[in-house]
Amino acid sequence: MTCREAIEKLAEYLDAELTPEGLRAIDAHLEVCAPCRAYVATYRKTMELVTKVCRVEPPEDMKTRLHAFLIGHIAPTK
């Protein structure tokens, strides 16, 4: 397996979607390829950073405005 082939399968590797043969092939490549080990570690860390940086709660005042907007537009009229 080449670096190109290993990196192409990386997302499926991390999602545990590869066949046992595919998994063994990547593990064997990583065993001997330092650049790909670094690639896997930094790819995985990139995913973590995206989650940490982007998974934020909306500001409270936005929720308040949304609530008021919905009350104003869809509340039943008497």
């Binding site: 080449t2 670096c3 190109r4 082939e5 990196i7 990386l10 997302a11 499926e12 330092a34 650049p35 790909c36 080990r37 670094a38 690639y39 570690a41 930094t42 790819y43 995985r44 860390k45 990139t46 995913m47 950073l49 995206v50 989650t51 940490k52 940086v53 982007c54 998974r55 934020v56 709660e57 909306p58 936005m62 929720k63 405005r65 949304l66 609530h67 907007f69 919905l70 537009h73 869809i74």
Partner: protein
């Protein structure tokens, strides 16, 4: 409302990259849900439909306000030599910045680089990245939401992550 408001806001913000636009998108989406949501049955179908409405509204808002700049993601993908091995200097190819302390990885400087990298992704890549890595939706549900194949979703998510990783490595790889 609470169940979806935060998720839809993150998705809308991820696509529009503008807080005020994202807020307007969420308001529009809730109005659409109110007007048309009763016709949907089944939790999964409704969820996918809501995401689809949000993506379309956010894309429309972004395109309406900003002239679309076709960003090539190719320039940020790893390159390989003819034998299939990584190209580039050894220092760069071997850079493993993943063990850097959180103070560096989550510093304002790194956040700004990540933010710019996300911003530079084509819109349709950014949408699936947010759904997969921020909202943690399964590939199949994302595929249903955007009306494309699971293979297409997997490919976009993978390429988006590689593009971000490449730009982070240019910054963080020099510190290792």
């Amino acid at each position: 409302m609470g169940r979806y408001a935060a998720r839809l806001h993150r998705l809308a913000l991820g696509i529009t990259r503008n807080a005020a636009d994202a807020e307007e998108v969420v308001q529009d989406v809730f109005m659409t849900i109110y007007r048309k949501g009763e016709s949907f049955e089944g939790r999964s179908a409704l969820g996918s439909w809501i995401y689809r409405v949000t993506i379309n509204a956010a894309l429309s808002k972004r395109h309406g306000k900003r002239r679309e700049v076709e960003t090539s993601i190719e320039q940020h993908l790893p390159s390989f030599d003819q034998s299939g091995h990584r190209e580039g200097s050894q220092t760069y190819v071997l850079a493993d910045w993943s063990e850097n302390p959180e103070t560096v990885l989550l510093s304002a400087e790194t956040r700004a680089i990540l933010d710019r990298a996300i911003d530079s992704l084509p819109d349709h890549y950014r949408a699936v990245l947010v759904l997969r890595d921020v909202e943690d939706l399964p590939n199949a549900e994302i595929a249903e939401a955007i009306g494309e194949s699971v293979a297409s979703v997997k490919s976009r998510v993978h390429r988006a992550r590689m593009a971000l990783r490449e730009q982070l490595t240019r910054h963080l790889g020099q510190r290792t």
